[in-house]
Symmetry: C2
Subunit: 136 residues, 2 copies
DNA sequence: TGCGAGATTGAGAATCATTATCATCTGTAC
DNA sequence: GTACAGATGATAATGATTCTCAATCTCGCA
């Protein structure tokens, strides 16, 4: 799959960079921590009042396809985070919602899982919840 | 918090064991793999046709409070899994949906996260996706 | 055994998140 | 410029979950 790049966000092939999309991508790049579709929608509307909610979902979906954005597992609201390319996990602050990435990972190795359970691991998700340095 | 126990499922204090709840708890105990609220509702209705969907959500919620059931992070349908007490993670088969528990875990140690990011880890969620022995 | 406080119930309405639809418009390769 | 595939916004539709409320039931205590 050929990929388009905009400020570090990766989009699938044949994705057009429309003004609506650029506004959303800018917001995502400038933002820290997690965001919901509706939050993004409301902020983007301040810049482009004609923008529709469906476009937000469509754009987030494109970013999810390439891994530039990932849904967060947490219990409460359905939120997303921006992701750098490559394997990493998230440190999510329960107090302020900030999200930090870390390359630290110790998920059980595929070899061990295979030997022990006959399970062929493909991917995994690991999120650590706690309190960030600023809130501590 | 005082706890009530039924076939290994733990419920909060003052939880009454009504026939509706017992039917739901039985289904959860007997079931393997993950389930959605609606699936549980439909199966339980075969045994007790008068049972309401709200009761399913209420019961699942009680089990979530004690950790006997946990929502699954996966992208598709919103599903839950039964959990044994204690720290463990899940191996989720992408082919058949079966869920296996494993005590294997190598999440980054709280000490390292503290030193490196100033982050105070409290909990973490780790789910491994792949193919189970039966489907391989 | 019987009582009563308080927990629980089902049905349906209400809310919230997401996806589908469709006629119209526009970015981009030529 | 032109064509056309991809993109758009409004709105309806769907799906998941929570709320509401009057009626009912459970369980500890007498």
């Amino acid at each position: 799959m050929d990929l388009t790049d905009y400020r570090g966000l990766v989009l699938p092939e044949h994705t057009r960079l429309t003004p609506q999309r650029l506004a959303l991508l800018d917001l995502i790049v400038e933002r820290e921590g997690s965001f919901t579709a509706v939050e993004l929608f409301q902020e983007a509307r301040r810049r482009r009042p004609e923008l529709g909610l469906a476009t937000v979902y469509r754009t987030v979906d494109l970013l999810r396809q390439t891994g530039s954005v990932r849904p967060l597992a947490g219990d409460t609201r359905p939120a997303y985070v921006r992701c750098e390319p490559g394997h990493h996990h998230h440190l999510i602050c329960l107090a302020c919602g900030a999200v930090e990435e870390t390359e630290l990972c110790g998920a059980p190795s595929p070899a061990v899982l295979r030997r022990r359970y006959g399970f062929r691991a493909e991917t995994h998700e690991l999120d650590v919840y706690g309190t960030c340095a600023d809130c501590a």
